[in-house]
Amino acid sequence: MNRTVEPEVPATILPAAGVAGVREEVRARRRALAVARPYLYILPTFLFLFVFTHYPILKTFYLSLFRWNLATPKMELVGAANYVQAWSSPLFWQVVQNNVLFALGTVPISLALALMSALLINQRIRGLAIYRAALFYPTMIPMAAAAMIWLWILTPSYGLVNFYGRSLGLPDIHWLGHSRFALAALALVGIWKRVGYYMVIFLAGLQVIPEHLYEAAILEGASPWQRFWRITFPLLSPTTFFVAIMAVIDSFQAIDQVYLMTQGGPGNHTNLFIFYIYQNAFRFFDMGYASAVSTILFLILLGLTVLAFRMLHRRVHYA
């Protein structure tokens, strides 16, 4: 049923003769247009969507079934060989492990920091807005710029962190060149860049919690601690889940800082998914294998999203 009503065509336009037949025709045309209209409206969107989102997903999967690289410049159907290659490649698993570690290093910390700052800023105290801006500004700058900033700050010897590290008696650490610290340094940049954004989302969540709940709780003599765990935390859980999933997905999409700060090194210790795909596709020209890894990543992220929606439905308590 279509509710968008077209203006009536004035009857005077229609010739007197054969009025009924012509009316019928006009009505049919109008009906056809009415049926087609919504499709015409969504056509531009779906045109782009199909060419640049749907088709590439399918085609990437298709390409992943071929060997297509410098040694085999003519595409050659190999079935699951690229997936088998990934499965049996220690490097692939190292990339998976790196990415999981990276997510574990960034997500809980960013979430905790974001939630804490949101709670503090949400206090009814004057002059807190400025902190909101100060914490949020890294969201506005490109990751590429953030990478440059931290590259400089983490530089060995005369970088800011090592300056003050030394005065605290710490050794001079080459953060980005150290097999154990490099990934942590990348995580630090990610946290620095994203906490402000997550905080703002938390703030939005906090603002819709009805004030009267707190008032009632205060009347009943609940401590701030109890108020947080009994009211704020449960009511905020949809937001928390949303932010958590977003943060995990973010961590699987991290690439700019890897490309600009470590190039995956030292010794592949910071090689993350997207960089691995990039390396294989555009540096080694191994398109088939890179397509297989892309497909795997696609499935992981799809799984996470679906999981997120299901969790959201099952676990979240609405007041």
């Binding site: 049923m1 279509n2 509710r3 968008t4 009503v5 077209e6 203006p7 919504p38 409206y41 969504i42 531009p44 969107t45 779906f46 782009f48 969507l49 640049f52 989102t53 590439p56 997903i57 085609k59 700052s117 002059g127 807190l128 400025i130 902190y131 801006a133 100060a134 914490l135 949020f136 500004y137 890294p138 969201t139 506005m140 700058i141 490109p142 990751m143 590429a144 710029a145 440059m148 900033i149 400089w152 010897s157 005369y158 300056f163 954004y197 703002v200 989302i201 977003m246 997905i249 699987f252 490309y259 997207i274 795909i277 555009f282 398109m287 890179a290 397509s291 892309s294 696609f298 992220l301």
Partner: protein
Amino acid sequence: MPSRRLWRLTVHALLFLAALVVVVPFAWITLTAFKERSEVFSLIPQWLPSHPTLKNFSGVLDAMPFWRYYWNTLVVAFGILAVQLVTITLAAYAFARMNFWGRDVLFFLLLVQLMIAPQSTVIQNYLTLSSLGLLDTRLAIMAPYLASAFGTFLLRQTFKGIPRELEEAASLDGCGGLRFLAYIAVPLAVPGYLAFGLVSLTYHWNEFFWPLVITETSKARTLTLGLGIFAQTAEGSADWTMLMAATLMVIAVPLLLFLVFQRRFINSFMQSGLGG
């Protein structure tokens, strides 16, 4: 009430500390950008430049086609937004206020764009654009973003909120279809457009990876990519003062705009979270 004041002080102190950690890096690079090259190699931290200089900034303008990158970035970010505004308005309107066969399936297919990482389609998009002969063009940087599931979703919510009676009344006055959309629905959705616009501009201004893949020369390269390439090209001479000057030049305008229109920006990003 002293405990109230104590709490207020604690909140201020904690937030001040957090803000300090976040802001100090920015202050440090800003000061670095005005230093002489040899000065930064000191092993004792020196905050203020002893001989403030603008040499680094002119050096950057000399070393990379900065204004060309700037122009490319403007064209790309605003170009994407302009096309998106048209595509999302039409699609959101159809999804919000029309019934048609397959609507829910199509809506799901739209949401797929939100569910996948754009990076996982990079290879095929690169091949597609390359076969269209569009490698190394600004159009190629824009292409994958011309439809926006997020924007459509956001606007659909707004359009859904327009009361039926308003539309019926308008159509009786001969203001139906596209005219209703243009004169009534769109003006009502201005806050939504603003939020979407700011988020979209910020995102595409900042983007690095896709332009990295799809461009080959400074012809189409954007600012962030120019910055990255500038930093990567140093076999032996990453020049911190100049690099920091370049970084500052890249982020200056968006950051200034943010400082002026803070609330607007933050609210837009807030909505972007609620939309998802």
